[in-house]
């Protein structure tokens, strides 16, 4: 890179496929997903790290894509809500959100579901209280929280059977 260069080349795996991008160095992962890769399932809420609507998995761990530079994702694996249902069959967490009516307007839902999927991996679904605490980074202005907790409890219970 030449001194003062403000664009950057990035190769990142998104939902299993390698994507090459040339971006302004200021572009966040969130904007790269939505504007460059047309993956608009990931939502821009506060765009400032406060609401969780932009939650994606980076190398399997949930992060906020609005506070991650796309350039920092070189060689890394990103999973978005689109990646949960690659062949059109819904992920069990997506099915549970529908079954339990875990959303109203739906804007926060992709972030809620990405966090919920990570929550299962983290093993933080031992009680409703624990689910609430470890979902606290995802805000829902419609107030669908009781049904979101029910959906997560449902999927966590299936895993234990």
């Amino acid at each position: 890179m030449s001194p003062g260069e403000t664009s950057v080349d990035v190769t990142v795996r998104v939902n299993g496929a390698a994507r090459r991008l040339r971006l302004d160095s200021r572009v966040t992962l969130l904007d790269a997903l939505r504007d460059e890769l047309d993956l608009t399932g990931t939502k821009k809420g506060c765009d400032q790290g406060a609401c969780g609507a932009c939650t994606v998995l980076l190398d399997g761990r949930r992060v906020l894509s609005c506070l991650t530079l796309a350039a920092q994702c070189e060689g890394r694996e990103v999973t978005t809500i689109e990646g949960l249902a690659p062949d059109g069959r819904l992920h069990p967490m997506q099915e549970a959100f529908i079954r339990h009516d875990g959303f109203q307007c739906g804007y926060c839902t992709p972030g809620q579901i990405m966090s919920a999927v990570a929550l299962l991996e983290e093993g933080r679904t031992g009680s409703d209280e624990e689910i609430r605490e470890f979902m606290s980074g995802n805000l829902c202005r419609c107030g669908a929280y009781p049904n979101i907790v029910a959906a997560i409890r449902d999927v966590a219970g299936q895993g234990r059977e």
């Binding site: 890179m1 001194p3 003062g4 260069e5 403000t6 950057v8 302004d24 160095s25 200021r26 966040t28 765009d47 400032q48 790290g49 969780g52 939650t55 980076l58 761990r61 949930r62 992060v63 906020l64 506070l67 991650t68 530079l69 350039a71 920092q72 070189e74 966090s115 990570a118 929550l119 983290e122 933080r124 609430r132 605490e133 470890f134 606290s136 980074g137 995802n138």
Partner: protein
């Protein structure tokens, strides 16, 4: 937002040399402070961001009674460490009380130490008055509405709060900060790492431009000591502290043999309550002792109308965490 050059560092010495030689360069790690202030708030405008996340500054190792934590270890990784849970559990409690799970997967330990204040006047560049942002311009928070602000180590020039939970527990433990600079490495105790605002609120710590935190060293508590972290806030989760308290006690036959106490939500820096510790040392573990310690910790506050409530809230937080950790019933 000004354009910046993005540089990916792959060697610590090269990264330190690069930033040390360039006044317009800053480090980028987890991004939860830096990108917020650069991209979103427009408070910082670096010409070059040096991404240090690929440097070999990860890993948690134990050497005798010290835990060595790489600066790029994330908050969630440190919270999940078995030695932390066993020997300094209030460090894990403080970590899990901070931010959100997503942010804790991003934010690093080095970055947590260096997180910038949440003072709204600092974070809003349309406010022309802020001694931290524009040295010598004055303090809008002292005269304007203030609530999430400091009452200890504060003064007329600045009441901006250091909002870390983690650092409250770390400062109680006499944690050491290992630093790499252009002229070599050095170590600074966390208790002397931060600088009170005084007349220069823009100077927040002892780091020179380009110096990089590479590691922290956490002394483990003696076996038998108990610890706890209490955070009081406006919401049940995902909120900064109004007040918080980290306490570690070793009690033998009803007497406090060793005590460590630090406060959050009230200090311009993570606040070690040494005056309170002196009262606790050697005293009977009773409610009267705990109340006396709490009064000593808050003996000299600097309050404005919006923060006056924090004096009693902090005292009560101290009394409550000391009861909880000691097991002495109120």
């Amino acid at each position: 937002m000004r354009p910046f050059e993005y540089v990916r560092a792959d060697d610590p010495a090269a990264a330190v040399a690069l930033v040390s030689a360039d006044p317009g360069a800053e480090y980028l790690a987890g991004g939860t402070t830096e990108l917020d202030l650069v991209l979103k708030d427009g408070v910082l405008a670096p010409e070059r961001l040096v991404d240090i996340t690929r440097l070999p500054l990860r890993g948690i190792t134990r050497a005798d009674d010290t835990l060595r934590v790489g600066a790029l270890v994330t908050m969630n990784e440190l919270a999940a460490d078995p030695t932390v849970s066993e020997r300094v559990p209030f460090v894990s409690e403080a970590l899990l009380a901070g931010a959100s799970p997503q942010l804790r997967n991003m934010a690093t330990i080095g970055g947590n130490l260096l997180q910038r204040t949440r003072c709204r006047y600092f974070r809003d560049p349309t406010v022309p008055v802020c001694n931290k942002r524009i040295p010598g311009s004055g303090c809008a928070a002292v005269r304007g509405p203030a609530r999430m602000h400091a009452i200890l180590g504060a003064g007329e020039h600045c009441i901006a709060l250091h909002a870390s939970d983690l650092c409250v527990a770390l400062v109680a433990l006499d944690t050491l900060v290992d630093i790499q600079g252009a002229s070599g490495p050095r170590s600074v105790p966390l208790t002397r790492f931060y600088v009170l605002p005084g007349e220069r609120p823009d100077v927040e710590n002892v780091l020179q431009h380009g110096e990089l935190i590479t590691r922290i060293r956490i002394p483990l508590l003696p076996v038998g000591a108990r610890s706890g972290y209490l955070k009081v806030r406006d919401r049940a989760s995902y909120e900064f502290a109004l007040t918080s308290a980290a306490a570690a006690l070793l009690i033998e036959d009803g007497t406090v043999v060793r005590a460590r106490l630090a406060l959050g939500g009230v200090g311009t820096v993570p606040w070690r309550a040494l005056e309170a510790e002196q009262i606790l040392h050697g005293a009977p573990a009773t409610g009267a002792t705990f109340r006396a310690a709490a009064r000593a910790a808050l003996a000299d506050p600097f309050t404005v109308a919006g923060t006056a409530f924090k004096v009693e809230l902090a005292e009560r937080s101290i009394v409550r965490i000391l009861h909880a950790v000691s097991g002495v019933r109120p």
